[in-house]
């Protein structure tokens, strides 16, 4: 790739409007975002409210620009007459290999999926490695192999990269960053702000598998389970859905923070309410069991090969049928709808017929004892 990405604001055709305010360090707009934490804590990377506030209150004002303000999984920028989806993600997973995958396929599929959530087919990826002194070369080799295989499977090419080594003890073995670009098809406009009352909410399959697979092998929590990560590239599934209708309103891959965080972000971005039907949400038995033991809610457990879609009601049946015909959407289910009520909030009807608020998790989900 010879193209350089120019400032999307300068091109004058970025799709997301609104000017970013100048940073005001004496008076943050959000209650207690950072003054509350003079240092970074794990919750700032947990994909919940603290992550969102860090971006909204520290990064976005400092960077300015307009595309960032969209705060989607990827930005959509105009360049040379084409609309490009552009995204980056860093991978710090521990352990490096887990049932059903490893940091390599995760790094490729994660960025491919972020692009797919704009409706784009990923074309090119970059990768950056931060390696810790002393890591076995065989480990690095295995990660590279899995990245190559994942890229080939997703139909994307890794075209540029960078490697840095940090002293022993100053890294966690291997960190990987990938960034990617892909073309957004003409007529496609998928972003969180487009969620509208009447939209049907669809999830592409069983939730919680990736998070439970990781936890099953994480130090201190280990348990025996035949659960594998759902790590997969979703570009093909999204193409199949777009073949039915280009008018898909929102796509989101519910990674960190799980389905609960993803749907909350959409409700909040679009200022709509979301009503979920808990019984319709596919939760595998083993995920339910693991969550029961650890005191976790499957709604907030990470996925790496699932998407949640907001689709106009009159298109929902056809989109669902197309998903069912695709291997990665075979267990897709309608799990709720977008409503013109309790704006910005997600409410679930429980199996018993009661309701509960599905709140945006603050930071990382913690095993509870009581």
């Amino acid at each position: 790739m010879a193209d350089t990405v120019t400032n999307p604001a300068a091109s004058g055709t970025a799709t997301v409007p609104g000017a970013a305010p100048a940073p005001d360090f004496s008076n943050w707009s959000c209650p207690l975002p950072l003054r509350d934490h003079p240092r970074v804590v794990m919750g700032h990377g947990g994909g919940g409210a603290m992550s969102a506030e860090l971006v909204a209150n520290l990064f976005a004002p400092a960077f300015g620009g307009t595309a960032l303000a969209g705060l989607g999984d990827s930005a959509t920028v105009a360049l040379g007459g084409a609309r490009l989806a552009f995204s980056t993600d860093s991978y710090v997973v521990r352990p490096l290999f887990f049932p059903g995958g490893g940091i390599g396929d995760l790094a490729v599929n994660g960025t491919v999926n972020d692009l797919a959530m704009s409706g784009a087919r990923a074309a090119y990826l970059s990768c950056g490695f931060i390696l810790e002194e002393g890591v076995e070369m065989a480990v690095v080799g295995r990660i590279a192999e899995t990245m190559g295989a994942a890229a080939r499977a997703a139909g994307v090419e890794i075209v540029t990269g960078d490697t840095k080594v940090v002293e022993s003890g100053r890294g966690d073995g291997v960190y990987v960053n990938t960034a990617g670009i892909g073309l957004v098809p003409a007529g496609v406009d998928i972003r969180p702000q487009r969620a509208a009352p009447g939209d049907v909410v669809i999830v592409s399959g069983e939730i919680g598998l990736h998070g439970v697979a990781i936890m099953s092998v994480r130090e201190g929590l280990e348990f025996g389970a035949r659960v594998e990560s759902d790590c997969a590239a979703l570009g093909g599934l999204v193409e199949a859905m777009l073949a039915v209708t280009q008018d898909i309103h929102v796509l989101r891959d519910p990674t960190r923070g799980g389905l609960g965080a993803a749907v909350n972000e959409i409700a909040s971005a679009a200022g709509v309410g979301v009503a979920l039907r808990e019984r319709a949400i596919p939760v595998p038995d083993q995920v339910a069991s693991a969550c029961a033991i650890l005191g976790l809610d499957p709604m907030y457990v990470a996925n790496e090969g699932k998407l949640v879609a907001f689709v106009p009601r009159d298109q929902a049946d056809a989109v669902l049928a197309a998903m069912h015909a695709h291997p990665l959407g075979a267990r897709a289910a309608v799990i709720g709808e977008c409503v013109d009520d309790h704006h910005g909030m997600v409410v679930a009807r429980t199996a018993f017929g009661g309701t509960r608020v599905v709140d945006l998790p603050l930071g990382e989900q913690l095993p509870r004892i009581c």
């Binding site: 509350d36 019984r279 339910a288 309790h342 009807r349 429980t350 199996a351 930071g363 509870r368």
Partner: protein, 374 residues
């Protein structure tokens, strides 16, 4: 999971609910004692299904929430020391002390680790002989036996770099304190099933008789909660006040004698402060003299830390159903889920936190708002 999924079956709730509706003739205020039960109620919306006459008051039974500020401050001090690996159940990390929480300590370089079981902490001590490993031993009578066994095993296996910061609490003195407070509205208790799995039911007849309240030992699944409510309401309507076991699959009258014997050996009863409530006599356990050298408070000399609870917090009144959360001056201003002053705002199931969350909900809130505290 067998014998778990069956008790989560919504199809069987109909009969229970209908029986409650058919029985109830006037308003009753019940308290579920355990935070686990509160969690089930909120998680499945059980309280919304009950007839209007039945009010559930959420009790002080979340051990994380009631751990006193002073003990949290001691934990933060110990966890900050460079030689210490501080191990805790996960949900304790977010509970704020006076000026920070365990997450913050970790951000500042402290070695704070989440474990699933106290035995995992003992394992960490075995693997790190040159570090001091401290486990944060909190909880009710259910968590106390595992923690007692861990202290006992550390002694038996001569693992000297392991100690425990103990802040255990006991249910019966809490029931007594609630019932003796002025204006108490509680008319019946759903007792914590797993506490009774360990302790048995012998402590309760005296309380039921003294305060003339039905006490029904209740499990944790949605159907268990409904059965506990059903049996309590039945007693109230009949003017009875006995101890009833609605959780016989897990509770025997004698409890678990082996666990009780270990508790006797490792712990001794002590007065204990409850966050937001104050000191309740004889309501806690601390390590007995025999195990004093494994008491982290002494090993790290933090006994001098004395923190007073914030006076603005009125969670004690909220817990007893005397005050609605939004009637407290601090509610939503100086006290929010992110900056909680007291127990009821700390946990997402706490009455104040639930109230804070649900008041943002449009139409259903009108119904919902009434439910946590009436």
């Amino acid at each position: 999971m067998k014998y778990l999924a069956e008790f989560q079956n919504p199809d069987l709730a109909k009969g229970l609910l209908d029986d409650i509706r058919a029985t109830v003739t006037r308003p009753w205020a019940l308290m579920e004692v355990c935070g686990g039960q509160t969690h089930t109620i909120i998680r499945h919306g059980i309280d919304q299904l009950l007839p209007d006459e039945v009010e559930l008051i959420h009790g002080p039974g979340c051990p994380v929430c009631v751990t006193p500020l002073e003990v949290i401050d001691k934990a933060l001090e110990i966890a900050s020391r460079p030689e210490v690996i501080f191990c805790s159940f996960g949900d304790m990390l977010r509970v704020p002390g006076t000026d920070r929480d365990l997450f913050r300590v970790r951000g500042e370089g402290g070695d704070v680790r989440v474990v699933y079981s106290p035995l995992d902490a003992l394992e960490i001590a075995r693997e790190n002989p040159h570090r001091e490993v401290v486990f944060f031993g909190i909880g009710f009578e259910t968590t106390a036996p595992p923690n007692a066994m861990t202290v006992h095993q550390a002694r038996k296996q001569n693992i000297r770099n392991f100690s425990m910061l103990v802040s255990h609490v006991r249910v019966p003195p809490a029931i007594e304190a609630i019932m003796t407070s002025a204006d108490c509205r509680v008319q019946g208790f759903l007792a914590a099933g797993h506490v009774c799995s360990v302790m048995g039911t012998a402590e309760y007849p005296e309380l039921a008789e003294k305060f003339r309240v039905p006490i029904v030992v209740t499990g944790f699944e949605p159907l268990d909660i409904l059965e506990g409510v059903r049996r309590t309401v039945r007693q109230l309507e009949r003017g009875e006040h006995t101890v009833d076991n609605a959780y016989p699959r897990a509770v025997r009258p004698e409890g678990n004698p082996a666990a009780r014997a270990m508790l006797e050996d490792v712990f001794e009863v002590t007065d204990r402060a409850w966050r937001g409530i104050g000191v309740i006599p004889q309501s806690g356990w601390r390590l007995s003299d025999k195990y004093r050298d494994q008491d982290a408070e002494h090993r790290f000399d933090v006994t001098g830390i004395n923190t007073c609870e914030p006076s603005a917090c009125r969670s004690g009144e909220v817990l007893q159903g005397l005050l609605k959360p939004n009637e407290c001056e601090a509610f939503g201003t100086t006290c929010t889920p992110r900056t909680p002053l007291g127990a009821t705002m700390v946990s997402s199931e706490g009455a104040c936190a639930a109230y804070y969350l649900y008041r943002r909900l449009g139409t259903p809130a009108a119904n919902r708002e009434a439910s946590p505290v009436g």
